[in-house]
Structures are given as C-alpha cells and as structure tokens.
Amino acid sequence: MDVELRGITKRFGPVTANDDVNLTIRAGEVLGLLGENGAGKSTMMNILSGLYSPDEGQILIDGKPVDFEGPGDGIAAGIGMVHQHFMLVPVFTVAENVILGVEPTGRFDYLDLATARKQVRDINEKYGLQVDPDALIEDLPVGIQQRVEILKVLFRSAEVLILDEPTAVLTPQEVEEFFGIVKSLRDAGKAIVFITHKLHEIIEIADRINVLRGGRITGEGDPKTLTENQLAEMMVGRPVSFDVKKGPFDPKETLLEVKNLVVLRENDEIAVNHASFHVRSGEVVGIAGVQGNGQSALIEAVTGLHHVTAGSISFLGKDITNASARERHRMGMAHIPEDRHKSGMISNFTIYENMVLNTYYDDRFSNGPNIKWPEVLKTAAQYAIDFDVRTPSVYLKAGNLSGGNQQKMVVARELERETKLVIAAQPTRGLDVGSIEYIHSRLMDARDEGDGVIIVSSELDEIMSLSDRILVMFEGRIVAEFDATAGPVDKNAVGLAMAGAHE
C-alpha cells in the first residue's frame, strides 16, 4: 500500500506546525523521517493516522484521496501508529490491549478473550514477537511494551506502520533486536515510517530519508550517501558541533557519599537496591539505565523527596539521610527534576513566582512573614536575561512559554545561587537542539566552577558526551561503572550493562 501526503498544512492558533508538506510512503520500504523536537513530525503523523485533520492538503492512498475524520478512520484504512508515549492501558493484559476497539465478541456482547489470545499468538509467531498475551502491561519491561504496540497495529492488519521515536526507551542491544523486527516487517511488504532525531539510527535503518524542520520538508536523501553532519545541518539549519566544551578533568574533594542505599516503593517493591557511589567536586557523574530501573527513586532519595529505608547519604561531610529536601537545598544541592511540568514548575504561576519557587523563604526575598515581591521581580528579570529565557515579560504565566524556555527557567532557578552539587534528571528531554546545547554548556560551566554534577538521562548519547564517570543502573542496583576521562567508553559495554548482562 502506498500513501502520499500532498500539500499538508496544519496550524494551531498562531503556530504553523506543518507547512505545505509533501511525502510519499511506499510498501516494502522504511522511510526515515528526521527532525528535532518541535519540527512537526508528530503533528504530521497524527494527521496521517487520523487523530488531527489538516487545514489544507490531501492524503492519497494508492492514488485515491481519502478523508479521515477520526483516529478510527486511519486504522480502518490500514495506517497504524506506534506512539512515542505508549498508548497502553497499564492494568489491562496484553490481549485486552491488543483487541481494544476491535474486540471479538460472542452472544450478549460477551468478550471472547479465548479467541483474542489465539489471534495474538498467531501474530506473535508470524513476526517473531514473543509476547505473552496474558501478561499485565504494567509488569512488562518497556521493550516488550513496545512490541505490544506493534502487535496492536498488526492485529488491525495495518499496511503502513508509523513508529514515532521508537528507540527512545531501549538499550543499544534492544535497538538491534528492534531493527530486526522492523526489517522483517518491511520484508513482509509493510510500509514503515521511522521517526527519530537520532542520526546514526536513521542511517542504519532507513531506505530513504526526509528531513523536517520548522514544519517544512527541508531535505531528502539516500542514507547510503549522506553523512551524519550533513543530516544534522539539514535538521537544525546550521552546522552543529556534537562536542560539548568542558575544561580539564580535575576532581577535588568528595561532595556526596551514598552508602548501601535502599529505597522501597509504595507497594514495597524495591526501587534502589544497596546502591553506593560518590560524587566529587568538578566531575560529572552520568547515571545510565533503561527508564524504570530505579534512577528516579535514587534521585528522589538523594534530594530528600523519598523516604530512605536503609543506608546512608552524606553531603559535604554531613549525614543528611534524614534531612529534609529544604535543608539539602540550602546546603547547596540543586535539583532539575525529570518532569518539569509535573514537578519542576507551576504552569499557572507567573515566571517570577516560578523563579523563586524554592528560594522564596530566603532572607533575600522575604522579610518576616512577607515576601519582598519587588525584589523577586527584579531578580527574576536578571535570571531571565542571564539564562536566555525568551519572554515578553516576567509577569507571563510559565505555562505560556515554550518547552525550551520553561526548562531554561527551571535551570536558572536552580543554578543562580551558591550550588555545590547539581542534580539534573533528563535535563534536555523534549527540547530543541539550541536549548539542549545551551543547557549542556551551563551544566558544564557548573562543573568547571567546581560543582559536582549528576546527570540522569535515558538518552545514552547525552550521558556519553557529558560524563566523566558513568554509572549504570539495572533493577535498582548500580551494576557497572565506566571511566570516561581516560578515553571513549565502549557504548556496547554500557548497553550490555543496561540490559543487566553484568559480571
């Protein structure tokens, strides 16, 4: 089945997300769609799957124009989408998730799960997916969840599969396996759209590449002839250097010492299992691992947001195992939370209020019970200038800023004071390249000025390029440590450790 997009334009208010986009998707081919965050990739694919309707333009399937009015129409036409954020119901089983919307039923609308299981097993065998139809989604690792998403679209006999940033949550080895699945699907005659912002992946898997920037197609090419640098320039619109500038490695005294840390989740599952590590002044420690292996709980425990069940944490030579988040903060611990919308900022508050969200109590900003708002306003404006937060006014609600500017606001709040240790969790998730470069350079500045820096990221490339030392977490334990100062770290070895293949 071939699909053609002709002159697609989609606007959200003043923002044009897609501007006169033309695209052809062919059966038995992997089309790589490259673009940075905010380039309009997801919008385009949501139009193709019927979730959005375009303001202008046409979709043609096998030469015939079609008109999608809802997501059901895209599926019915044979276009299936695997979303970047999985669209799975965690408390349902695999089979229930797969059949949702196209359920086999008996009399009295009885849900025929037996048939469903059999059908799931059949597809499993055909494409070598190996997923247990009766497993609960929430018990499955993300790699398997992704296969369930693929099962879902195959179950609906999709001929076109759109994969949106499918490798974001996988280890390098899982990526290899996943590419195997993609190739077998392509060889079975399916058309695949592979969306990513990772250059090396697209060169490896795609048969043809289209590059999207600012809502327009800015380049087309053959992966065999294009280089990563050429692609990057097409994607960003200017030459990009992948190197992060940082000073010589010169670690000093130990700032943070974590010993035998154990953290339990609400349901008594173990989140962090006897983790021990230290961070020195002037070094960047990267914590790698597949999402959900205890990194978040580790950070929450270190920053005082999660109860520590056993073990100890000391900071600047003082035991802080039971200290409150605020005490740690006052001692010079800065925390850039992993989910800025959920926990890093308050969208309904103004920028100036967000800028003092965790320093309002300080003598600089308060006087007895009162907050000195004029002082806060002045400082917020300075922060905004220093950290390149682009806004017409600090009175603006933070929710109105773009993602990159929101993150710069959070980073400004955390770094614009006396810090000793900077903990950055997913500091660049979902940002555009410009913001990423900016935030990376500020983090490196902090290191060069003698701070310790911890970076947690699910983007292994980010960890590899920033860290002086890399720790790998798997199932709550720190299973490997790599020294990045001596020379480049073997990415494959890190990947194996992430998958738990240690010792």
Binding site: N46, S49, L51, Y52, G70, P71, G72, D73, I75, A76, M81, H83, M87, L88, V89, P90, V91, F92, E96, I99, L100, G101, V102, E103, T105, F108, D109, Y110, L111, D139, P141, K152, V262, L264, E266, N267, D268, E269, I270, N273, G292, N293, T309, A310, E475, G476
Partner: protein, 423 residues
Amino acid sequence: MAAVSTTDLASADKLETHKTRQARIYGFVLIGLAALVAIVFALESAGEATFRLSHPRDTWVVPNLVVPAAPFNFLAAAVLALLGVRQFMRGGSKWSMISIAAGCAIAVAAFLVWATAGKSFSLTGMLSATVVAAVPIALGGLAGVLSERVAVVNIAIEGMLLAGAFTGALMGSLLGGWGGLLCAVIVGGMFGFILAALVVTYRMDQIIAGVVINLFVLGVTSYVSSQVFSEYRALNNAPVFRAWKIPFLGDIPVIGSVLFNQNLFVYGAVILVCVATYYLFHTRYGLRARSVGEHPRAADTLGINVYSTRYINVTLAGMVAGFGGAWFTLGSVGRFDENMTGGLGYIGLAAMIFGRWHPVGALMAALIFGFADSLQQKLAIVRTPIPSEFLAMAPYIATIVVVAGFVGRSRPPAADGKPYVKE
C-alpha cells in the same frame, strides 16, 4: 520488573517495609480493641444476651440465641489480643487484612452482646434492616463505580438520589408506583447526562459540577415541596412497593426473611450489581469504558469515542442513582421530605472507594454501612448507656474510618477526575 523478592531482602536486612509498618499499626488497633472489650464490655456485662432469630409467625421457628454476656466478651477480648500479638510477631503476611476484618467483626459482636446483656434483641430484624438500609448506599456506590470507571468523579450522587426520590414521589402519586419508578430512573439519567455535559463538553471542574448539581436539586426539590406539595398533598402521596416474599426461599429461617422477603429495590440492587459486573468486566463496551477511565488518550487513538463513552456511562450511573433515589419514597414511606437523602449519596461514594471501584465490592461495603445504620436504630430502642446522638454518628464515623483506612490501598481508575481534551 522487580526480580528481587522484597520479603527475602527484608528478612535479611531487617528493613522496615510498608507492610511491616502496616502490620504494626493493625497490631496496635487489635490490642486496643481487646483492651476496650475486656475493660468496658466484659466487666460491665451482666446476665445473658438474648438474640431473637425468628418471628413466632414464621414457617419454621428457630429458638433464640442466648449468649452469657461476660464470658463471651472475655473470650472475645482474648481472641482479639491473640490476633493483635500475632500481627506484631508475624506481621506483613497476607493474613493482615483478614485479621483486622475478623477483629472488627469480633469487636462489633462483643459490643452487641454488651448492649443486649440482660435484654433481648431481634437479630433477624436488624439484619433485615441492614439489607434495606444498604440499598440506597449500594445503588449510590454503583452509580459512583459506573461513572468513575470512565474517570468522571461523581459527587452528584447525592443530588441524583434526591432527584430520584422526589420524582418517585411526585410521579408515583400521579402515575402509580411503576410509572413513578420509571420517571425517577429517567430523571436520574437526565442529571447524569447534565453532569456529563458539564464536565465533558464544558470542562467544568468535576467536583464543582457535582456539588452544583447537588445544590440545584436540593433547591428545586425543596422549592417545589414547599411551594406545591404543601398545598396539593395528593401530589406527594405515592404508593409503596411492598415486600415480596420469594416462594420457598423466603421460608428459610433467618436467611429467608433477611434476603428473600424484601421489596423490589433490594432485588433490583442485587440484579443491577450483577449486570454491572458483567457489563464492566465481560463485555466489549465494558472493556472500552474501563480503557477510557484508565488511559483515555490510548482509547482515543484506537477510535473509541472518549466523550460519548463518558456521556453514556455517566448517564447510566444517573439512572442507577435515580432508581436508588426512588427507594426513599416508593420503597419506603411514599412521601417526599426536604433533603430526605441526608448524605447517603456521599456514604455511597465511600462505599465505592471501600469496594475498590468494583460493583460487588461496593455492595459489600454498603452492607457494612447498612449494618452500622440499622445497629444504631435498633440499639436506640434497646436503650444503651450511649446517647442516641452518638449512636447516630456511627455510620458517619465508620465512613471516615473506612475512607481513611482504605483509600491508600485501593487504586482508582488512573484518569479519575481528569478532563480529557482532544488534541
């Protein structure tokens, strides 16, 4: 994903897990209950407590249950203490929940024996009243389950019950019992639809929408009842559905009169709970409804219409609550009084939480609340040293305890209370 068993880890490390802490709290509660039973109930019990199990007119008459009060209560205290100590010694096992449930039951039994010591008390009558009192709570809880399973928080149950009660009385007076019942269901459904419209289409805060519907219904029904009913009494004089004894089953001693000699509303509640369970967990549309409550965006991407699913289920919830509301008038007194639901809708909501968002669970929880309610009514007759006002607080305190004690352990639908905005 946790391959490491926490239990092993905990025993090796002496880690304090949430479970062990919880077990310790349960241990304290149980030992506290034991002390209460021993010091207050056992020491002050004199004579025998007589529980009547059947009516002299019953087909088969069962002899009364006579319990020597003091020995029974000392025994109860001993068992409670044992259970409590066991929690300390071997806490965190799967027996924790069972222990605390059994402990509560024993404490209630001890309380009953203490209150009836030297008197006689109709146990069957109380159980029968329990079932009756549970009906509006169960139906309210079921209405809550149906709407919260599609992630619409339904504070408006109280208003829907009140609307059902009012409509039942008004239309029942005009059209007879069945006509009144039908209208009550329709009006309940209408308010469900309005709630859905407010929260789904007009994206009003769900709790505010519920509170407003409650205020509105209270306003309308009070207004009509003082403006119209006070003048035209015939409009507020509906027939009542009498108890209908199921042949044969109704003759079984104790159980028969409690379960099989009731009116339409009791049977209706049980049937609705069964139908709702089948619908939610064994049908296509139930699966879709639950997916909308758990992950609406996922449902949307699969072509399931989130909005209409919410409309339909919340309307159904309103119909169930309308039926439950009719119980107040058509199922009991035949007459509407201002604010006659008196907060039972909110207790229904608590039953839903206690019942873990499951229809059967909500029914069971409703029976417990119904028990608390009938207990206080019957004890007020027996005359206990406790002032009747305090006995009347029992169901409310039970609600608070239940919500406080169980809400942390049960998991609401993931999208509960969140509006869904299509992209």
